[in-house]
């Protein structure tokens, strides 16, 4: 029985393309990082010396920059930075592929006309758990990068800061998806009842 439109099939194909592109991009980036002497970008947070960077505006008055989030480009790379870079690429790739594979399986079952099954409830719950977990992992890598660079980088008038502030957006998105998974679990129970009604 298939009462669904073409959209799930189109989305399924898109997730397959996205999985292939992610794998290819991760392999290319890792190879280029390992083999070529390319500059590496690292996310960092800066705290400038007091009164180092001032702001002035005719409309709003004047002040100083207290902290800034940005990117540091290392043209001469250390082994620890290359390792952190590779770990970041792998984390991004594994996160994206895992979520895309789960999404593809959900879309497959929707295309087959059987969306309300226990397996989909489990997949949706897994997505809801993995999004904040992967978000935290990526933030931990940013933190580790800042920790490594903090001790070694000298920048005039700037202090590089390592901070691990949990991103509550990922947690909120995860909770919403877990709630959706519970709706699917209830839906799968209703579907089982309907299937066994003669």
């Amino acid at each position: 029985m298939s009462t669904t439109g073409r959209l799930p099939k189109v989305l399924q194909r898109l997730t397959e393309v996205a999985i292939a592109v992610t794998i290819l991009a991760a392999v290319v980036v890792l190879l280029v990082t390992a083999l070529a002497d390319v500059p590496l970008d690292a996310p960092v947070e800066f705290t400038p010396d007091e009164d180092t960077y001032s702001l002035s505006s005719d409309a709003w008055g004047s002040g100083t920059i207290l902290e800034a989030v940005g990117t540091a480009r290392f043209t001469e790379r250390s082994a620890s930075l290359v390792a952190l870079w590779a770990a970041a690429v792998l984390t991004y790739a594994v996160s994206a592929i895992t979520l895309l594979v789960l999404l593809r399986r959900i879309l497959q079952s929707i295309s087959a006309g059987t969306p309300f099954v226990e397996a989909n409830a489990k997949r949706i719950r897994a997505i809801g758990i993995l999004i904040p977990v992967f978000g935290l992992l990526i933030q931990a890598l940013h933190w580790a990068t800042a920790l490594v660079t903090m001790d070694t980088v000298a920048a005039e008038g700037l202090h590089i800061r390592a901070s691990l502030s949990p991103n509550l957006t990922y947690l909120f998105i995860g909770l919403v998806i877990i709630a959706l998974g519970e709706v699917f679990r209830y839906g799968s129970q209703l579907q089982a009842d309907v299937d066994l009604t003669v």
Partner: protein, 73 residues
């Protein structure tokens, strides 16, 4: 389940097969087998009516209740 379905006995008595009854009632043989084997969770009144009509019986001939305690979940 404390509800027992006597479809197999009724079919035997009427010399009728599951396939024939399913065709007359208008439900799939798989669904009728679920009912016969006690796997069904619910029966629609329309299905019950059609089975009673074709087998010329009462709902009480098809279903009975036994007072066996439900196993704990």
């Amino acid at each position: 389940m404390a509800i027992t379905v006597h479809l197999d006995w009724l079919l035997f008595d009427r010399r009728m097969t599951v396939a024939e009854l399913s065709k007359r009632v208008g439900i799939t043989p798989a669904n009728l087998s679920n009912l016969k084997n006690g796997k069904a969770k619910a029966v629609r009144f329309s299905t019950l009516e059609a089975i009673c009509r074709e087998l010329q019986c009462q709902p009480g001939d098809l279903l009975s209740h036994t007072n066996t305690p439900e196993p704990p979940n």
